[in-house]
Amino acid sequence: MRTTPHARATAGIALHHGSVRVLKTAVIGCGKIADSHVEQVRAIGAAEIVAACDREPLMAEQLAQRWDIPGQFTDALEMLRTTRPDVVHIATPPDSHVALATMALEHGCHVFVEKPFALTAADAATILDAAARAGRRVSVNYLYNFERPALELQRLLADGKLGRVVHLESHYGYNLAGDYGVAVLGDPEHWVHRLPGKLFHNVLDHVLAKIAPFVDDDFTLQATAFRLRADSGNPVLDAMADELRFTIKGGNGVTASGTVSAHARPAAHSLRVAGTIDTVELDYAARTLVRSARQSQPSAIGRLFPPFVQARQFRRNAWRNVADFGRSKSHYFQCMRVLLARFYGAIDGRDEDPVAPAQILRVCRMIDAIVEQTRSPA
C-alpha cells in the first residue's frame, strides 16, 4: 500500500465538513469507468474519495494521481482495513463483483457496483443477501434510468398520463469501431470475452434495466444472437456475436422487445413505452421525450397536424436541454450523478434505494435467460 500524508491523517476516522458528516468512499478497479465514479461522487459532494485500489499498482497510481486521491492500494482487504471506507464503488470486471462486494459488505460498507451487477442471477442474489444481512445499501449503475427523459417518464406514469403500460421497445447500438470496440476486437484476452454473454453481457443492463420495472418476475423470453462481422480468423473473437434480438412477455401481460446492434446506424439508444392512454418515445442520446404522433382530425386534413405537434414537442425538448446546459446539468454522466445522489441519499436515510433489489435481480435473470438461449456459437 502507498499513502500520502493526507491519507495517513484521515485513515480510520470519519471525515466531517462543518457539522455534516462526509462519507469516506473507496474505488476498487481503476480502469476507464472509475473516472466517472470519482468525478460524479465529487460532483455531488457527499463523500471524500479516500482510496484507489487495483490489483495493478500502476493503475491505482494513475487514478490516484490524476484525481488527487490520497490512498493507493493493490489489495482490497488491506484497503478496507486501513481506510475503513463507508462506501465502496466496485468498477472491476464483472467476474470479481461477488467476491469484492460481499467482502466490502462484511466490512460494513455500502456498495455501489458497476454494471453488469454480477455474472449470474445466483451471484446477484448472493450480493443482495449479503447486503440485507449486513444492513447496508447496495446499488448498481443503471444510470440511464436517471437520464432526464427517464425521470420525465416516471412523472408521466405517476400522473397516470400513459395509462397502463402494455409494451416497451428498447434499442441499444454499439459502435465496434469506437475505442472500446477496437480494444475488445483487438484483444482475445479482453475480459469481455470471458463473460458468458460476451459483448452483450456488458451492455444488456442498459437495455433491460429500462424494461425491468414494468415486467414481473414470471416472464418468458425468446432471444437470438448472430454475428454480422466478417471472420477474423481468431476463434475467440469470432465467437462474439454482435447482433441481438429478444422478446419478453411478463406474467402481468406486459410485453417488451429489444435489440442490441453493432451495425445499425446511427447507434440507437431509445425506448418506446406504449400505454393504454398514450405512447412516448425516449431518445437517451438526444435527451428527448415525445408523445407519439396521433391523428386527432379526420381524413387528409388530419394528416397535416401531427408533424407540427411533434415539431413543437421536439422544440420544447431542445429548450429544456439548453436550460439544463445553462444550469450545468448537461454533463455526459449527469444521469449517473442523479443516481449517485439518490444512492448516497439512501445511505443517509433521506431517499429510498434508487434501484430496487428486486429489479436488479430481475435484470440478472433476464440476462441469464438471454445467455442461455444464445450460447451456441455465432
Binding site: C30, G31, K32, A34, D35, E39, R42, A43, E56, L58, M59, Q62, L63, Q65, R66, D179, Y180, V182, A183, G186, D187, P188, E189, G233, N234, F325, S328, S330, H331
Partner: protein, 335 residues
C-alpha cells in the same frame, strides 16, 4: 544482433522495421498484438531476402506472454504505445505495457533498449518565446497538466529510467515531434481544432515540429544501431513550416475548411475561461485546453535536431516533398 521492434504493425513501427532492414539489420523480431499484415511481411521479405524476420504476437498487457517475446533478443526498439481511448486505457497500453516489457527484458538480460517517446514529455511551459528547444529542456514531473497522452508518455519515460537503473541495460530515447505522412493524422492539435463546422486555427506563426514518418523511422533505426548509451534525441525534420503555412497548404491541397484564426492572447484567455467554466460546471465541458497547455504547446519555439544530425542522420524526405506526398494521399483518401 537480434532486434525486437514492438508495435510493428503501427504507423511508425512498420517503417522502423523497414529502416532497420535498409540499414543492414538482418535479424529482426517484429512484435504484433494479434496478427502481422501478410502484405507487409511479403514486402519486407522480397526487399531483404537475406534477412531473418520472425513474427512474435503478444499483448503487452499479458505478462505471461512476454518472456517468449523477448527470448534471445539483444536489442528492443519499443514503439508500441496507446494512442487512443480513455486516459486509463492510454495509460495501461503505454505504461503498464512498457513495465511488463521491461520486466521481461530485464529478466532475460536484454542488453539495449530504445524507447520511442514523444515531444509531449518536455516541460516547455517555462520557455521564453522563440527559445531553442533541444534535448536540454527538462521533462515534466508528471505531465498531468498536459492531458492523458502526455501523462502516459511522461510516466513511461520515468519508468524507463527507473528500469535502466535497476537492470543496467543500454538506454536510448527518441522524442519525435508530430509524426506525419500518408496514413497518419492530418491536422495535429498543434495546428488547430475542428469543432462545430469550423476549424479553429490555434498554432498561428509557431513552428510545427514535424517529422515525416520515414525520416522518423530512419532516426529510430540509426539510434538503435549507433547511439551511445544514455543518448536522448529530438526527432524533427529540417525546414519546418509554421502551423499557419501547414494549414494553408492543407486547405489548398486537401480540403476546404472554414477557418477561424485564434490569436495567442485570445487562446490563453479562452483557455483560462474554459478551465474556470470546467470547474464551476463540475466538468460539463472538458478542460481540453488550459493556460498551461497553451503556454506549453502553442508558443513559438525553435526546434533543434542537432543531436540527431551529429549521429549522422539526415532527413531523406525533405519537408516540402513530405507535405506534398501526404496532402496528395489525404486528398485521394478522404477522411
Amino acid at each position: 544482433m537480434k532486434i525486437l521492434v514492438t508495435g510493428a504493425n503501427g504507423f511508425l513501427g512498420r517503417r522502423i522495421v523497414a529502416s532497420l532492414l535498409a540499414a543492414g539489420a538482418d535479424d529482426l523480431c517484429v512484435h504484433v498484438r494479434d496478427r502481422a499484415s501478410e502484405a507487409l511481411l511479403d514486402e519486407w521479405h522480397s526487399r531483404h531476402p537475406q534477412a531473418r524476420i520472425e513474427v512474435r504476437a503478444a499483448n503487452l498487457l499479458s505478462r505471461t506472454r512476454l518472456p517468449a517475446l523477448v527470448e534471445g533478443v539483444d536489442c528492443i526498439v519499443h514503439a508500441a504505445a496507446g494512442m487512443r481511448g480513455s486516459a486509463a486505457d492510454m495509460f495501461a497500453n503505454t505504461v503498464v505495457g512498457t513495465r511488463n516489457l521491461l520486466d521481461a527484458a530485464g529478466a532475460a538480460g536484454v542488453r539495449r533498449i530504445v524507447l520511442v517517446s514523444s515531444f509531449a514529455v518536455y516541460r516547455t511551459e517555462q520557455l521564453e518565446r522563440g527559445a531553442r528547444h533541444d534535448e536540454q529542456v527538462p521533462i515534466e514531473a508528471t505531465g498531468i497538466e498536459k492531458g492523458a497522452y502526455a501523462y502516459a508518455k511522461t510516466r513511461q519515460e520515468h519508468l524507463f529510467e527507473e528500469y535502466r537503473r535497476r537492470f543496467g541495460f543500454e538506454a536510448v530515447v527518441l522524442r519525435p515531434g508530430v509524426i506525419y505522412g500518408p496514413g497518419g493524422g492530418r491536422l495535429s492539435n498543434r495546428v488547430g481544432l475542428r469543432a462545430m463546422g469550423v476549424f479553429f486555427s490555434l498554432g498561428g506563426a509557431a513552428e510545427l515540429p514535424l517529422t515525416y514518418v520515414d525520416n522518423c523511422a530512419d532516426a529510430v533505426a540509426l539510434a538503435a544501431l549507433k547511439a551511445a548509451d544514455g543518448a536522448r534525441f529530438n526527432v524533427v525534420d529540417d525546414d519546418l513550416p509554421t502551423c499557419r503555412a501547414y494549414l494553408r497548404g492543407y486547405r489548398r491541397e486537401v480540403e476546404k475548411l472554414r477557418v477561424l484564426p485564434v490569436p495567442y492572447w485570445a487562446f490563453v484567455f479562452g483557455s483560462s475561461m474554459l478551465l474556470r467554466y470546467h470547474k464551476a460546471s463540475k466538468g460539463q465541458l472538458p478542460a481540453v485546453f488550459t493556460p498551461y497547455i497553451v503556454r506549453s504547446m502553442y508558443r513559438p519555439l525553435q526546434y533543434s535536431n542537432a543531436a540527431l544530425k551529429s549521429l549522422g542522420w539526415t532527413p531523406k524526405v525533405a519537408t516540402a516533398e513530405g507535405l506534398q506526398r501526404s496532402f496528395r494521399y489525404w486528398r485521394d483518401h478522404p477522411a
